[in-house]
């Protein structure tokens, strides 16, 4: 819903009642004086859900199943963050076997595939191709949409076979998996994975070739997990392109979460420096050398079609970045399944103890960091979760501040659409961040 009005001083206000195609509830308020932007507020008003509070006192083994319910789109991210952090608290982190770690990557591949494809082709691509929604886009690009749906479904199936179900998987536990997935059932997925991998390579080139991406280059601080090898989903130090380089446990101390009057979600900054960006663009810029060879060979082709070499400083390019990451996830899933045999153990044995653990993993939208303190009996003393959308909020507002200068001459409706389009670059999950969007622009002159 959009409306606009003028007040007695000649100011103009534009409202967008709810931002479509993002998760959760929020609003945007711009105040402008001529072409100068006075205020940009991303007003997240979805009520807090107090997960960190009601985790207190629960047994540590319950945590992955509870945190999974923070989000319907990225439950695996919340399970992986809590499982890794609590393994540190319980002192078994280094005992987790390589086979269990590979299964965790496989599960994450399923979530990346499902979440990325949903976002790219159902929620974001209509913006770039000039359609109101994926429904109207499907009339002209039906085959593309069907191909995307096929790949999205495969992501769900990978999660289903690996972890019992795709929405809020039930097989993940602290220490590994309750039961190792059936090798035959996983290997039966290989032909479809290989077919979808070829399709996704074609679709990624389509995204690079057919879209004229808006120009909004900014000097971002990109933050992502950076392992010594590979393209991380679960492991690695947390680094940035501007000098951040911390162990997983230290990340909480490196950032500062701030309350803002206009948002029920906390805003994160790097201490002493300021805003930063997590998500596909950050990962691709920092870790592209670690991509699976199938995805890596696509990068120069995509760069040539777009006309920009890495690092990309324009978050509208998060769309092809997601395409490349989806190719990576499909190729990695195929490799893991080809090599998979039933492991000797599906989880490590844990004796409850008092402890502390902090760990982040790469949710589709970026680093999702958890920390927990436990009591002697393994119950949760404190819980702290830093979701990716909350970390990106300040950066989204800065992007909007820059974009607002470009759209000052546009009509209220067109300006609102451009702002919504920009916000969708982040695939924001407001439901997660409060553990989004009304648009209001006030023009003072």
């Amino acid at each position: 819903m959009k409306d606009s009005k003028s007040d007695k001083a000649g100011t103009r206000t534009i409202r967008v009642g709810a931002l479509a195609r993002v998760e959760g509830e929020g609003a945007l308020h711009l105040v402008m004086d001529g072409d100068q932007v006075e205020k940009v507020n991303l007003e997240i008003y979805e009520p807090p859900r107090f997960y960190e509070a009601f985790l207190r006192g629960r047994d540590f083994m319950e945590v992955p199943d509870i945190t999974a319910r923070i989000c319907g789109i990225c439950p695996v991210a919340y399970q992986m963050g809590s499982a890794h952090a609590l393994e540190k608290a319980m002192g078994v982190y280094d005992e987790v076997t390589p086979e269990i770690r590979e299964l965790r990557d496989l599960l994450y591949c399923g979530e990346w595939i499902e979440s990325h494809v949903l976002h790219m082709f159902m929620l974001h691509l209509p913006d770039f191709l000039g359609y109101e929604s994926a429904i109207s886009m499907a009339a002209d690009h039906g085959e593309t949409v069907k191909q995307a749906l096929r790949i999205k479904k495969l992501g769900n199936v990978i999660m289903d076979v690996t972890a019992g179900r795709s929405v809020h998987p039930v097989n993940v536990c602290v220490g590994g998996f309750y039961k190792a997935p059936d090798p035959d059932k996983l290997k039966a997925l290989l032909p479809e994975i290989e077919a979808c991998l070829d399709l996704m390579c074609q679709l990624t080139l389509f995204l690079a070739e057919k879209i004229d991406y808006p120009d909004l280059e900014r000097d971002y601080e990109f933050v992502a997990l950076c392992p010594d090898e590979g393209y991380s989903m679960n492991l690695g130090r947390i680094k940035s392109n501007k000098g951040l380089d911390v162990d997983q446990q230290e990340f909480g101390a490196a950032i500062e979460e701030q309350h803002k009057a206009h948002s029920t979600a906390l805003h994160s900054i790097i201490k002493g420096r300021g805003e930063y960006l997590v998500g596909p663009l950050a990962r691709l810029n920092l870790m592209h050398e670690g991509l699976h060879p199938k995805a890596k060979e696509l990068v120069p082709k995509v760069c040539k079609l777009i006309g920009k070499n890495l690092p990309w400083q324009n978050n509208f390019l998060s769309l092809p970045a997601r395409g490349i990451e989806t190719v990576h996830a499909l190729a990695l899933a195929a490799d893991i399944i080809r090599n998979y045999t039933l492991p000797q153990i599906s989880r490590v044995r844990i004796t409850p103890r008092a402890g502390y653990g902090g760990h982040g993993t790469e949710a589709p939208r970026g680093v999702c960091w958890h920390e927990y303190e436990t009591e002697d009996d393994g119950s949760i003393r404190t819980a702290h979760i830093v979701p990716p959308t909350a970390q990106n909020q300040t950066t989204i507002e800065s992007d909007l501040r820059e974009l607002a200068r470009q759209v000052v001459a546009l009509s209220d409706e067109d300006a609102a659409l451009r702002c919504e389009h920009l916000i969708r670059n982040y695939d924001p999950c407001i439901s997660c961040s409060v553990h989004f969007l009304k648009f209001k622009r006030t023009l003072k002159s």
């Binding site: 709810a18 195609r21 993002v22 998760e23 959760g24 509830e25 979805e46 009520p47 859900r49 107090f50 319910r69 989000c71 319907g72 789109i73 949903l118 159902m122 929620l123 929604s133 994926a134 429904i135 499907a138 009339a139 039906g142 949409v145 069907k146 749906l149 999205k152 479904k153 769900n156 795709s166 929405v167 809020h168 999950c429 439901s431």
Partner: protein
């Protein structure tokens, strides 16, 4: 013409932790307890965007969800042909849900792509839009769940083909 029932999908949706939004998942539980033959029950939970995954090859679909219906009092079980012009207006942007791609949008998209069964029905429970995550369910929720499950069994047994022209054809 009568359908073979095994192509009938019952797709439920909702959040067990959000008061009466638990309606859909609770109906799924009830249906599964009796293990009815000929129908497949899929609980989409709080990810309704997965509905399209389950549509190819279906001849019938019954959607089960909590709904905001302006003008209707909370606590009513709705039972409508999805495409009936008389079906009450529903509000898609549910403050308690995380519906990134709403059920209504997916129905329209499936229609656009030729994937939509000709039989689509909504079993909905009208809920109070001010209810929030963590609040207790209303006292009548269990009774309404049983009513809905009975309606679904009845439709599964007696539904008949009513060919419908795709909206976007």
């Amino acid at each position: 013409m009568s359908y073979s029932q095994n192509n009938l999908l019952i797709a439920t949706c909702g959040n067990l932790m959000a008061s009466d939004d638990a309606f859909g998942p609770m109906v799924a539980r009830d249906l599964r307890q009796l293990n009815p033959s000929g129908i497949e029950v899929v609980d989409l939970d709080i990810r309704p965007a997965a509905l399209l995954d389950y549509l190819p090859g279906r001849t019938g679909l019954i959607l089960v969800d909590a709904v905001h219906a302006p003008g209707l009092t909370p606590g009513r079980v709705l039972d409508w042909d999805w495409f009936s012009p008389d079906r009450p207006e529903l509000v898609n942007d549910d403050t308690m849900s995380t519906h990134g791609l709403s059920l209504a949008m997916q129905i329209d998209m499936a229609d656009q792509l030729g994937m939509l069964p000709s039989y689509v029905r909504l079993i909905g429970l009208t809920i109070d839009p001010t209810l929030a995550v963590g609040q207790k369910a209303s006292p009548d929720l269990v009774r309404n769940v049983l009513t809905a499950a009975d309606l679904i069994r009845m439709h599964a047994e007696h539904r008949s083909d009513t060919p419908r022209e795709p909206q976007y054809a």
